[in-house]
């Protein structure tokens, strides 16, 4: 882990809610603005996360592959004295492994979630090929979930359309809390 670079994000709280930044009045309707960390996976596939749950971006993560684990698991990573899972969102959405054994993602985005069994804060990470981007979205951007994968309703709490891209907003409690068969 000594060769691993860490970049801190601004997320502080483990609460899986968006921090709405205020309201702008447009005619009689209220436009609420929020931030989302958007990750890209596969080809033009996106997912968003609340900044509150994105903790740290690890470049060149060192992974310990787990034999016979779920197909979307890239491995376990040591992080601040813990072992945390690193998942591959593309494999999860495609319902089969889309990465090669022994390959390592460029980045691991560490996120917080609440362990349902203990109620305690816990941590997991997503393997990413590129850095996440932070975008501003409004409630007017809300749209329906993509229909290509039946998993989205189980892990996403909402969805937005941003510059032509459909971005499901993922609930990390659901993403990291249980096995996705």
């Amino acid at each position: 882990m000594s060769e691993t670079n860490h970049r801190m994000h601004t997320g502080q709280s483990a609460a899986p809610h968006f921090a709405w930044e205020g309201a702008e009045h447009h005619s009689e309707r209220v436009q609420r603005v929020a931030q989302a960390r958007v990750v890209v996976f596969g080809q033009r596939r996106y997912a968003g996360f609340s900044p509150n749950v994105t903790i740290e971006l690890v470049e060149h993560p060192v992974l310990l592959e787990v034999p016979a684990s779920a197909y979307y698991v890239r491995g376990m990573m040591q992080w601040h004295g813990r072992w945390i899972p690193v998942l591959d969102l593309h494999s999860l959405i495609m319902a089969h492994p889309t990465f090669g054994r022994g390959t390592v993602p460029r980045f691991a985005l560490v996120m917080s979630y609440t362990d349902r069994t203990t109620g305690e804060p816990a941590f997991g990470a997503l393997g990413l090929p590129v850095m996440p981007q932070t975008v501003s979205i409004t409630n007017a951007d809300a749209c329906g979930l993509p229909v290509r994968s039946d998993l989205w309703p189980y892990i996403a709490m909402s969805c937005v359309s941003f510059r032509g891209a459909v971005i499901p907003i993922v609930d990390t409690d659901r993403l990291f809390g249980s096995y996705h068969g």
Binding site: L64, E65, V66, P67, A68, S69, A70, Y71, V73, M76, R82, W83, I84, P85, L87, R101, D115, T117, A122, G124, L175, F176, G177, S178, Y179, H180, G181
Partner: protein, 168 residues
């Protein structure tokens, strides 16, 4: 690697301690013979590390009833080997020259790249989270061994069951 073909009858033939010291010095501190205690997220007792490729598995010593070395080219009845994904290999690789038999099926000889007996091991168990565990996953935790290497904790019966299921 050429092996002399000496079959050791029992794990006492491999007196390697977790801290590298002589086997006798830690004997007085051992838990009851062969027992492994799990308490407060820690594991203590005599364990066996089984190595296949880059993967290291850790099982309680009492799960293992026999170990031995294969002579080059020697065929052993009931011998099998697994890949790093814990899938049954079609043939036992030449470099898997140490074999063990598990208590749940003593007639089967599992061949490994290396086998180490770790006496009075005391390591922290880091449970694998639910999201990692498929229903069939035989591994339960990650541990860091005294030499700094990492291993996955399991029970021999779980491993046997998984390999049998995957082999159909």
């Amino acid at each position: 690697m050429e092996v002399q073909g000496i079959v050791h009858d029992g794990l006492s033939a491999l007196p390697v301690l977790a801290d590298g010291s002589a086997a006798g010095s830690a004997a007085a501190q051992l838990p009851a013979a062969g027992s492994v205690l799990q308490e407060g997220g820690w594991l203590r007792g005599n364990c066996v590390a089984l190595v296949t490729g880059t993967v290291q598995l850790l099982v309680p010593q009492h799960d293992v009833v026999h170990t031995g070395y294969l002579q080059t080219g020697e065929a052993v009845a009931g011998a099998l080997a697994v890949s790093e994904e814990l899938l049954l290999l079609p043939a036992v690789p030449q470099d898997c020259f140490v074999y063990t038999a598990f208590a749940d099926a003593p007639a089967v000889n599992w061949c490994w790249n290396d086998v180490r007996v770790l006496i009075d091991l005391h390591v922290q168990l880091h449970p694998l989270p639910n999201v990692v565990l498929a229903p069939h996953t035989p591994l339960t935790a990650v541990v860091t061994l005294p030499d700094g290497s990492h291993a996955f904790y399991t029970r021999a019966a779980q491993l046997s069951r998984f390999v049998r299921q995957q082999a159909g």
